[in-house]
Symmetry: C2
Subunit: 234 residues, 2 copies
C-alpha cells in the first residue's frame, strides 16, 4: 500500500523533504536574526547560530552559503515582517494622522530597520549579496504603494503627493532617521519623535463640507472624490 | 631678541606646534578618506594610511587613537564639506525647484553620504565613537536650517513645512536613499532621480501673480513652478 503510493505518486515524499527544508531554513533564520540583532555581524559566528538552532554549521553553509548571505536574508525577512505588521497596525486608522502614527509606532518599536540598514550598508561593498536585497526593496515599495493607495481610496483622503512617492519616502525616511538616531544612541521614543517631525503630513482628510465647497468652486485641477459621503463607513 | 620674545610671549612657539599638528591631522584625514572610500573600513589598515600620508603609524594612534575613530572623523569632515558645497551650489538659485536641484545634484555627485552612512552604521555598536558624530549631525541640522531659512527669507518663498523639519528631512532622505540605492548598485544618476522623487517639493514661490509675471518674461531656462506643480489650494 505504501509502496503503491510511492510508485503511483512520488509527490508526498518530495513535499515532505521540501517542508523539512523550509522548516530548517526558518529555524536557522530565527536563530540568526536573534544573534545578529544582539551582537552584530562580526560578533556572531556560524557555529553560534548553528548551536542556537540545534543544527550543524554545515547546514548553514548548505542553505545560505555564507554568514553574510544569511545576515542579509535574515534582515530582509525581518524587514518584510515589519512592513506587514505596520500595514496591519494601520489598517483600522480612520484619519491620515492616525495612519501615520500607527506606521511610525510599529516601525520604531523594534530594531528591524536598524538591522536592515546594516544589511544595506554591508551590501554596498558586497554586490554579490544585492539580488536578495533588491527584491526586498522592490517588494517593500510595491506593497507600501498598494497599502497606501487602498487606504486613501477607501477613506477618500487627499494625498499630498503621489502614492508611490509617499510610500518610497516613508521607507527612505525610516532608514535615514534610524541610521542617524541609532548612531546618536537615541531611544525608540526619540526615534519616533524624530520620524514624526521629519515625515510630516502625508495626506489630509476631506470633510463632507469641504468636498461640497470644492465642487461648487468647480476647480478642475483638484481631484475631488465623486461621492460626498465617502467618509461614511460603507 | 628671540629669547625676549619667548620670555615675554610664549604664544608663537605654541602656535607653531599647533599649526604643525593641525597640518598633520589634516594630511592623515585626507589619506584616510581616500583609502576608506575606496576600500572600506575592513579593507584599509593604519599602515596603509600612514604610508599614503608619508607618516608613521604611531602618528595615527597619537592623533586619533584607533582606526575606527579616524574612520568616523574622516567621514564627518567630508560630510560637513559636502554640506558647505551644497549650500554654495544652491546659493544663486532663484526658484525653489532650482534650489532643490542644486542641493540634490551636489549631494549625489560624490560618495560622501555613503561614507557617512557607513560611519553611522559602525557607531550604532560603537557608542564610544558617538560624540564626534553627534556634534556633526547637530551641525548639519543647524547649518542646514540657517541656510534654508536665509534662502526662503531672501526670496520670500513659502516653505511647505517649518524650516527645521525641511532641513532635517533633506538629510534623512539623503541618507535613506543613498543607503538603499548603493546596496542596489545604483548609479549616481539613479540616486539623484530617486532623491528628487522621494524629496518632492520643499517650498513654493510666493504668489500666483508673481509666477504669472515670471511666465510673461518667457525665460524658459528658469523652471517656474506651475499651478499644477503646486499643492492644491485648500
Amino acid at each position: 500500500m505504501a509502496a503503491d503510493m510511492l510508485l503511483s505518486d512520488p509527490e508526498p515524499v518530495v513535499r515532505a523533504t521540501r517542508t523539512a527544508g523550509r522548516k530548517m531554513r526558518s529555524l536557522l533564520l530565527d536563530a540568526a536574526s536573534l544573534l545578529f540583532r544582539e551582537r552584530g555581524l562580526s560578533g556572531t559566528s556560524i557555529a553560534d547560530i548553528a548551536a542556537a538552532a540545534g543544527a550543524f554549521p554545515s547546514q548553514i553553509t548548505y542553505y545560505f552559503r555564507t554568514k553574510e548571505a544569511l545576515f542579509v536574508e535574515a534582515a530582509c525577512r525581518d524587514m518584510l515582517y515589519l512592513a506587514s505588521a505596520a500595514e496591519r497596525a494601520a489598517l483600522c486608522s480612520d484619519t491620515p494622522g492616525d495612519y501615520t502614527q500607527a506606521l511610525v509606532e510599529t516601525v520604531t518599536a523594534t530594531d528591524s530597520v536598524a538591522f536592515f540598514a546594516e544589511a544595506l550598508t554591508l551590501t554596498r561593498r558586497r554586490q554579490d549579496l544585492a539580488p536578495h536585497l533588491v527584491r526586498t526593496i522592490e517588494r517593500l515599495h510595491s506593497e507600501g504603494l498598494r497599502a497606501y493607495a487602498a487606504k486613501i481610496e477607501r477613506h477618500g483622503w487627499r494625498t499630498l503627493r503621489d502614492a508611490d512617492a509617499t510610500s518610497r519616502r516613508f521607507w527612505a525616511v525610516a532608514i535615514g532617521v534610524t541610521v542617524e538616531g541609532c548612531a546618536m544612541g537615541h531611544s525608540p521614543d526619540e526615534l519616533r519623535t524624530e520620524m514624526f517631525r521629519v515625515l510630516g503630513e502625508q495626506a489630509t482628510a476631506r470633510s463632507a463640507s469641504e468636498v461640497a465647497r470644492l465642487r461648487l468652486v468647480g476647480d478642475r485641477d483638484v481631484s475631488v472624490p465623486t461621492q460626498s459621503d465617502r467618509e461614511a463607513p460603507s
